[in-house]
Point group: C2
Chain length 141, copies 2
DNA sequence: GATATCGGTCAACCTGATTGACCAGTCACC
DNA sequence: GGTGACTGGTCAATCAGGTTGACCGATATC
């Protein structure tokens, strides 16, 4: 009997720590693994709405807002009004944000490749598939 | 490019939620998925030291202490002095704790089996192996 | 006996989220 | 073209599940 939840948590922590260190070495000690999803999913030209970003990362908009606040405070993104809807704001990368995003992308890619090497291509693919299944199919008891 | 850390986090959350609901249905709404490891690893006859439990779950002793505090407050465990070492205390299951532990074991087993069914035996085994590798081999960049 | 280590605890803090309330802008419809 | 419902963003409070650091008394080591 294995405690799968614990295993998942620890594996995540190990990878996140790894990514964190890599980002620090690349000159972004303040970019946290959690920011990755945002950097990866914010629209490069027009920007993205907080609500959309939240939905894409399966977070509440409040949680996403906290991340955006954080990154805005550090100068990686800024909020601009959405010309198409006066209620909305668009989150856009600053120049600094674009550099960080690129580095972040590289860090993730590098981690991916290291992971692939460690597990072997097939196990890696299986891992990804399995995780997707666990996420999407779960919820119904 | 996949954000593996996010995937792991979400998969864990999905499973934890599932386990949580199952435990609630079994009559233990206050037993959290995190308690599982403790219930599974505390020595049934003589009890276990907090330090040992922490090490076994790869947690700090402070974190384990908080869990023990919690479970003690709910009447699932109690601390008794260790006759072999006056510094130490032994965490022991109460009668209520033993019943809860048994139910918890069943819930985990059931979750394991459902997961196995969803992923298929081979993918499930691969998943477990992969996670172990990620946990143990990580840390060295 | 002095000193280092070990088991447990207190305190402060961090991360990554949650729920609930609220406001202003927009949309649909009559 | 006014009314009511919905949507996007925000504030506030809270939570879970950890972390690091300091500390104390008991024990082991020399």
């Amino acid at each position: 009997m294995t405690d799968l939840t614990r295993l998942l948590l620890e594996a995540r922590r190990a990878l996140a720590t790894d990514l964190d260190e890599d980002l620090a070495e690349r000159g972004y000690p303040d970019v946290r693994p959690g920011h990755a999803a945002l950097f990866l999913s914010v629209d490069r030209r027009s920007g993205s709405r907080i609500t959309d970003l939240a939905e894409g990362s399966r977070l509440t908009k409040q949680a996403m807002m906290a991340m955006v606040d954080d990154l805005e405070g550090r100068g990686y993104v800024r909020r601009v009004p959405d010309p198409a809807d006066a209620r909305a704001k668009l989150v856009r990368l600053t120049a600094r944000g674009r550099r960080a995003a690129a580095e972040c992308r590289r860090a993730i890619q590098s981690l991916d490749q290291r992971t692939k090497r460690r597990l072997g291509e097939r196990s890696y693919d299986t891992l990804l598939e399995s995780l997707e299944i666990l996420i999407t199919e779960d919820g119904e008891i």
